[in-house]
């Protein structure tokens, strides 16, 4: 059957057809849908793990037990999982082990533009890169075969345009889920120095064997065309190039680590001018240059952002279509949704002029005007350690002006360690956990605090208050952020305290909250157009020539604005 499938959906289908037994992940754009789609297959045990390191460790355990396992994450997630990654390269696998990592060139939804291919090189793990949904499915199956044949984990790298584009996929029958026998083998699986030294030799031999065999690997393809231009490329960039240079010769790499050296030498010898087209870092280009081959790459292109077909045409052919002029217009940045509980917290942070160390999630949007409630954002869980460090550098009194802001899922992911650090090292920071009871930014995934698994089953819900208390924090309170006055008083009290404290601001994500009522209206008789309500940065409240207006199609009746308005000008509610 042929179906139009998202790249991520095709990865899931590939896992199903490959007879995967266990699938794990922590959500992260653009990788999230992979595991959501896998969860729909009843046969496959699927979980959201608390973070990517744990997700990989669960997958390693499943592989050791003899089942095929797949773990998915975004590029920065692989940093979190890097510790087990480097050593599972030494132990190898029992059941096939595939790590899917989705890079985000252009940073559509990420904090950096790192290139995951470096991980494959430094951890000595083979890496495949599909260019569309059909290949995404096929390469996952290929990755499992390679994993078991060469006794290695295999990384499959996607980029946003492959993960989030739909193209046609021909599906096949799944192979049954089978378990290999587990045989105790400390020399292979216990990585102490004595054993690891022996395994490092095995790793090197494996990569040499893969390099040699990659000459015949059918996912590395030469497409003969005009011999004047030869292009070495992989992933979606192959399609950009085919769009504007259909006549050129191509070496399309399906395996991007290790590189098929002999195939590349052969291809290079048959073309007049050789190009490498790769987004982000010159990973392939530098390896080819190190073999003494002349090749053009990054002198024509940037290491920043995505490539486009027009860009390739301009660089190689020197021309492209006539460009129309772009218009100068007001930007349309993403915003916190109407009714978002985070808005209320940031309104108070700004009012109290607090410095806030932020974290990764929807609440990062609180950094933008008019709320401007976040001072810094680095990575998952960083807010707590950063608030602590800020205090230690500036002295105790600074903690009265500084807070750490983190979400429920992010706190569980990697925030808890920072809190233990604060208590252990006598910090006095105030940490705000914005608990909207869901992993929201990536599209509403469950997490250990929601009481539901990825399959929708009821499970134990992590008690955040008990967890915080167990670290040794004595001052924990739970507040509804939509009670602005109570929130403000609590903030003032906790930042003054000479002890560490945690405020859990608890209110469900506005997109999931069913309790909200009908839209409000502005009473133009009462409204003085003072603009105070605009400080909330609610997209539903707009200033028009006739005065303030609430856009009915956007307002979800959260009533936060009624607490800010001094003239009771919002209609449709009881005061």
């Amino acid at each position: 059957m042929i179906e139009l499938m998202l790249g991520n959906q095709a990865v899931a289908r590939g896992a199903y057809e490959a007879g995967v037994a266990v699938a794990t992940a922590y959500p992260g754009t653009p990788s999230t849908e992979i595991t959501e789609y896998i969860a729909k297959y009843d046969e496959i045990y699927t979980e959201w793990s608390p973070n990517e390191k744990i997700a990989l460790e669960v997958a390693i355990g499943a592989s050791l037990a003899g089942g095929r396992a797949i773990v998915s994450m975004k590029h920065v997630g692989l940093n979190v999982a890097a510790d087990p990654l480097f050593t599972v390269s030494y132990t190898g696998v029992n059941g096939g082990l595939v790590i899917v990592v989705a890079d985000d060139p252009g940073m559509h939804s990420s904090q950096n533009e790192q290139d995951s291919r470096f991980y494959a090189r430094s951890a000595h793990i083979p890496m495949l890169e599909p260019s569309d949904s059909q290949e995404a499915k096929d390469y996952i199956k290929c990755a499992f075969e390679l994993s078991e044949k060469y006794d290695t984990p295999v990384i499959v790298r996607l980029t946003t345009r492959v993960a989030h584009s739909q193209s046609l996929v021909e599906t096949a029958e799944p192979q049954p889920i089978t378990l290999k026998e587990y045989v105790k083998n400390p020399n292979k699986y216990v990585m102490m120095p004595g054993m690891a030294k022996a395994r490092h030799i095995v790793v090197e031999q494996r990569m040499k064997r893969l390099t040699k065999d990659s000459y015949d690997l059918d996912i590395n393809k030469i497409e003969k065309g005009n011999s004047s231009i030869g292009i070495i490329t992989s992933g979606v960039v192959y399609h950009y190039a085919k769009e504007v240079l259909p006549e050129a010769s191509y070496l399309k790499l399906g395996m991007i680590h290790p590189l098929p050296k002999d195939l590349i030498l052969e291809f290079a010898s048959k073309v007049d001018k050789l190009y490498v087209l790769e987004e982000l870092e010159p990973v392939i280009e530098e390896q080819i240059k190190s073999w003494g081959i002349q090749v053009s790459g990054k002198e024509l292109f940037s290491v920043q952002g995505e490539y486009t077909a027009n860009m390739i045409e301009r660089a190689i052919k020197g021309s492209t279509v006539n460009m129309k002029q772009k218009e100068e217009l007001p930007n349309r940045p993403p915003v916190l949704c109407p009714g978002c509980p985070h808005r209320a917290v940031f309104y108070n942070l700004k009012k109290l002029k607090l410095t806030a160390m932020g974290d990764i999630g929807c609440y990062t949007l609180g950094a933008l005007p008019p709320l401007e409630g976040i001072d810094a954002c680095v990575c998952m869980g960083a807010s707590i350690g950063m608030a602590h460090g800020f205090e230690k550098a500036k002295g105790k009194d600074s903690s009265k002006k500084v807070v750490g802001v983190i979400g429920d899922s992010t706190f569980i992911h990697s925030g808890i360690g920072g809190l233990i650090d604060i208590v252990y090292n006598k910090g006095v920071s105030t940490i705000l956990i914005l608990d909207n009871s869901i992993t929201a930014m990536t599209g509403h995934q469950d997490n250990p605090s929601t009481g539901r698994t990825i399959k929708g089953e009821i499970t134990a819900a992590l008690d955040l208050v008990a967890l915080v208390k167990a670290t040794g924090i004595n001052n924990v309170r739970v507040i509804d952020p939509f009670n602005l006055k109570e929130s403000e008083a609590a903030l003032k009290e906790e930042i003054e305290r000479d002890q560490p404290s945690v405020i859990i601001f608890k209110r469900p994500c506005a997109l999931l909250d069913k309790s909200q009522s009908s839209p409000l209206k502005i009473d133009s008789e009462k409204c003085t157009s003072c603009g105070l309500c605009l400080k909330l940065g609610c997209p539903a409240i707009q200033k028009k020539e006739e005065g303030m207006v609430i856009d009915e199609s956007l307002c979800n009746g959260c009533k936060l604005c009624t607490q800010v308005c001094r003239f009771n000008a919002m209609e449709g509610v009881d005061y």
Binding site: I2, E3, L4, T29, P30, T32, E33, H108, S109, D132, T160, R161, H164, S165, Q166, S167, L168, V236, H239, Y240, K242, E243, T308, A309, N310, T320, V321, N322, M323, K324, Q325, K326, E327, L329, P330, N331, R332, P333, P334, V335, L336, C337, C362, L365, L368, P369, P370, M441, T442, G443, G531, L534, G537, P539, I541, Q542, K543, D551, S553
Partner: protein, 205 residues
């Protein structure tokens, strides 16, 4: 068949993804090669959103390049202007006459341009303007405005009305099929003025 490139733009939350799903299903149902590219995550939260739909005999890139879109379908009028440079020389613009203020306008740091429709008409010869949400309101469901826009789009493509209706019915929530089909029909039957009068299906075939 020559490849067709349709760029769908709007504001996160307006339902542009439903339209691209309908187009993608329609193209694969008719046996074309098809690619649809969308952006998820942070870009969706009330920000400017864009979806690329391409179909034909053989599609390589999932993305439409600047200057190469046959049709620009815009759910919001300022977004039409923002993405206008993606249209090819004789490309067609279908625009919903709706204004949604972005945050810099709400906070008073920028002004929503008041001459957008004129600027669009001055730059593009094939412009069709419709107030889809007004029609949707009359039908009684504000969410069906994207079906009105699909109806207008369908006027200009060589795909049978029945195929559109079948695919639309299979994708929208079952309870809203009737309202969506009504919205589609109104869009399909509304005769809109176009400065040059050229029909895109003449250009495409």
């Amino acid at each position: 068949m020559k490849n067709i490139n349709i760029l769908i733009v709007g504001v996160g939350g307006q339902g542009t993804l439903l339209t691209s799903r309908v187009l993608g299903s329609l193209a694969s149902k008719l046996g074309y090669d098809a690619k649809v590219s969308e952006v998820h995550g942070m870009a969706q939260r009330g920000g400017s959103v864009v979806t690329h739909v391409r179909f034909g005999d053989r599609i390589f890139s999932p993305l439409i390049e600047e200057g190469r879109a046959d049709i620009l379908l815009s759910f919001e009028k300022m977004e039409a202007l923002r993405w206008i440079h993606y249209l090819k020389e004789d490309g067609m613009l279908i625009v919903n006459d709706q204004a949604i203020d972005p945050m810099p306008v709400i906070t008073g740091n920028a002004k929503y341009p008041d001459d957008i429709l004129n600027r669009l008409i001055n730059r593009i010869s094939n412009v069709f303007i419709i107030n889809a949400q007004e029609i949707a309101k009359e039908i009684g469901n504000i969410r069906v405005s994207n079906s009105v826009l699909m109806g207008v789009l369908a006027q200009h493509m060589n795909i049978k009305k029945e195929d559109w209706e079948e695919v639309l019915s299979s994708i929208v929530p079952p309870k809203t099929i009737k309202e969506n089909l009504k919205a589609f029909k109104i869009g399909y039957n509304t005769k809109l003025g176009c400065e040059e009068g050229a029909r895109l299906n003449d250009v495409l075939e």
